[in-house]
Amino acid sequence: MGKLIVSLSPHAHGTDSVERNMYGVIIALLPALLASFWFFGLGSAVVCLTSVVACVLFEWAINRFIFGNRQNTVLDGSAALTGLLLGMNLPSNLPLWIIVIGALFAIGVGKMTFGGLGQNIFNPALVGRCVLLVAFPAQMTTWPKAGNLLVYPVSSDPVDGLTGATPLSLMKQAITSDEPQKYLDQLPSTLDLLLGNHVNAAGALGAGTIGEVCALALIIGLCFMLWRKIITWHTPVSIIGTVFVVSGLMYLIDPAHYASPVQVILSGGLMLGAIFMATDYVTSPMTHKGQLIYGVCIGLLTIVIRNWGAYPEGMSFAILIMNAFTPLINNYVKPKRFGEVPAKQ
């Protein structure tokens, strides 16, 4: 007879694992990634691949050389996921060296300085993206010309690049303009926004980052994650719902200056942020009640930044700001304890 193994209960474990969740999110991103290949071509593949490889390498190297070979987390999928999310938050014609700097900030500063997986306060991919947005504003808002699917990089030089207006900058210009209709008329149709099939006046495709181009593909990813129980509906629905309701009110009050709420929720990084960035386990609240508060606040901050801030897109900053509030939300928002639910019959 062999040994008797002794441990405390429970002796059974479910099938869930860190890897299942991380790779599950990567699978959920595939429709959006495929859509981006369709619209942006080679550039999208090069940017995402560079970002993933750089993030994984930085994670491995920091684990190996700075943390002294502790349990290496490079295979758990979290670094690859950060890399993919970072790549999808970049334009498809960004030079490689900028992507590598972004990956270094994402993994090195955003994640590993705090101690690695599970310890970081801010979403690493967003840390990388926002550092690049502030440091390289021209390159980060230059979009590729439509039609050059097999060329990379497409006019990476910001002087020659196509900086043309994105749906969000059109919306922003409409707010303060005396002739708002001129800008609102340039907005793509709702269907085109949903599918990602739009070219702006300057001839730039999609006019947005790789991941945010096709809202429909992102929604398919959301459904997959809900089905696999990787995330719950609370964060994405509260963000999108808040933005829809508030921008809907603004549209009702002043339809001349504000875009319709459907166009607002389908534009820019809202879907990508609400579905994939804000739902990051580590940096979002632990309870459903907390997630609803977090989601509503992200929605409100996004509206404020989009309409009255310096940047046309407020999603990334809104998420980062609420990441900072997450520990506070966790501290004050508690689940309903057993015994506090009233009797009913």
């Binding site: 062999g2 008797l4 209960s9 059974a12 969740n21 309903k336």
Partner: protein, 459 residues
């Protein structure tokens, strides 16, 4: 009818009910029977026999050692070999009485016939008499917790019992002893329920069964209609949606009568419910109607690698080794042997440990099932919070406990934890959440007790 369940958290572990349709066998007598003096919650029993004494089946071996305690009866006839210590399911050496088995001679007071006795035919059974017989027979909760049954029937003056809920949920994976008991002794269980209702002076009864046991639901529903339709009692069989830990007392009360027991020290009777296991109802029947003290029980011996897993009617004191041999012996290699099921069972350090009043199963986990996976960093996914049936935050309690932040842990209600293991079962990072929470819970409970002790003399 809509299928009910409890309202917070819960998980769906793989069922693995390998022995559902395996009819109960009577296990042979052991050569030597071992009777631990602590087979119940409360004070250990005090031995009343000495080395060399001759005992029969049903002879009192040890009397209750306090109010919260229960007497222990011999399950075999023979000679008391010694009063010694032996390793029990907790892994510690505890006082035991060891008896060398000779023949199978029963005390004459025990009615060994199969005749079904009904409550109606015994008007002499007053509630007080019923409670007294349950107490004398050493009946304790048979679901594993082993709380003396008679105490539950006598609620504190601040609470009023309104109903008896029979726990026939058996939500632990693998275990089928309660299911077999229901299929084979439904009549006796219903008489037991009637006795419990009469003893607790209530007229409402419920039997909570999960929907993975449709045959038991049908059988008991039919029998209830026959037995109780013309009586003063209202008994309802409540099918419950399959979900662990539905067999937890508080979860079952919530599922069946939609009331939540407040935080400790409140108990189910504070919301009017007295919960008893089906095995307990059967033991009550035998104790009251057949004058048979509690010395044998239904136990499942199971495991994926066992040759012939089965259900057994076992005399208490039988070493688990004997039962494992009946099922084809221990599987090759390293195994984990549990007293109980995989969610809440205790891993044994020796298979010489005897079957006790609360041993509803001997579960053998082999190969990968026997070992834990390496824990990773907490990814703060919040899934432990989602599944906690008590509405606690396991990730936080585990962290507070490992940092020895007892005050904060108390504030976060660590003592409400029922140790069901749902959090650890779910944790994608395989973190030993319950290990830490348990330590926090027991330390905080100690702090609360010593605070109460310090405050008491001043009054």
């Amino acid at each position: 009818m809509n299928i009910r369940t409890f309202r917070i958290g819960g998980i769906h572990p793989e069922e693995n009910k390998l022995t559902h349709e395996v009819a109960t066998q009577v296990a042979p007598l052991p050569k030597q029977a071992i009777f631990p003096l602590s087979q119940h919650i409360g004070a250990p029993a005090k031995p009343v026999v000495q080395k060399g004494d001759k005992v029969k089946v049903g002879t009192l071996l040890a009397e209750a050692g306090g109010f919260v305690s229960a007497p222990i009866y011999s399950s075999v006839s023979g000679t008391v070999l010694k009063i010694d210590t032996a390793v029990d399911a907790t892994g510690y050496r505890k006082p035991v009485i060891i008896i060398n088995v000779e023949g199978d001679e029963w005390e004459e007071t025990i009615d060994r016939s199969d005749k079904l006795e009904t409550v109606g035919a015994h008007p002499e059974l007053t509630p007080e008499e019923i409670v007294n017989r349950i107490k004398t027979a050493g009946v304790v909760g048979m679901g594993g917790a082993c709380f003396p049954t008679f105490i539950k029937l006598c609620p504190p003056p601040t609470a009023k019992a309104e109903c008896v809920i029979i726990n026939a949920v058996e939500c632990e994976p693998y275990i089928t002893a309660d299911y077999r008991l229901m299929m084979e002794h439904a009549d006796e269980i219903l008489v037991g329920l009637e006795l419990l209702m009469k003893g607790a002076k209530v007229t409402r009864g419920y039997i909570g069964i999960e929907t993975n046991k449709p045959a038991a639901i049908d059988l008991l529903t039919k029998k209830c209609a026959e037995v109780f339709s013309a009586s003063e009692y209202t008994v309802e069989v409540v099918p419950l949606k399959q979900r662990y830990p539905q067999g937890g007392e508080k979860q079952l009360v919530d599922a069946v009568i939609r009331r939540q027991v407040p935080a400790p020290p409140a108990i189910p009777v504070n919301v009017g419910a007295i919960v008893q296991n089906v095995g307990t109802a059967f033991a009550v029947y035998e104790a009251v109607m057949k004058h048979k003290p509690l010395f044998e029980r239904y136990t499942t011996v199971t495991g994926k690698r066992l040759e012939k897993p089965g259900n057994f009617l076992v005399r208490m004191g039988t070493p688990m080794q004997d039962l494992i041999n009946l099922c084809g012996g221990m599987p090759e290699g390293d195994n984990k042997v549990l007293a109980g099921g995989p969610m809440m069972g205790k891993a044994l350090t020796s298979i010489e440990v005897p079957i006790c009043k609360g041993t509803n199963s001997v579960t053998i986990l082999s190969d990968d099932d026997a070992v834990r996976q390496v824990p990773q960093s907490c990814i703060r996914c919040g899934k432990c919070v989602d599944v906690c049936p008590m509405g606690l935050e396991p990730y936080l309690l585990a962290k507070l406990s490992s940092f020895k932040q007892w005050e904060r842990a108390e504030k976060e209600d660590v003592v409400s934890c029922i140790e069901c293991g749902s959090c650890q079962f779910t944790c994608p990072a395989h973190r030993p959440l319950l290990d830490n929470i348990r330590q926090g819970k027991s330390t905080v409970m100690g702090i609360i007790r010593s605070r109460a002790a310090a405050a008491a003399p001043k009054k």
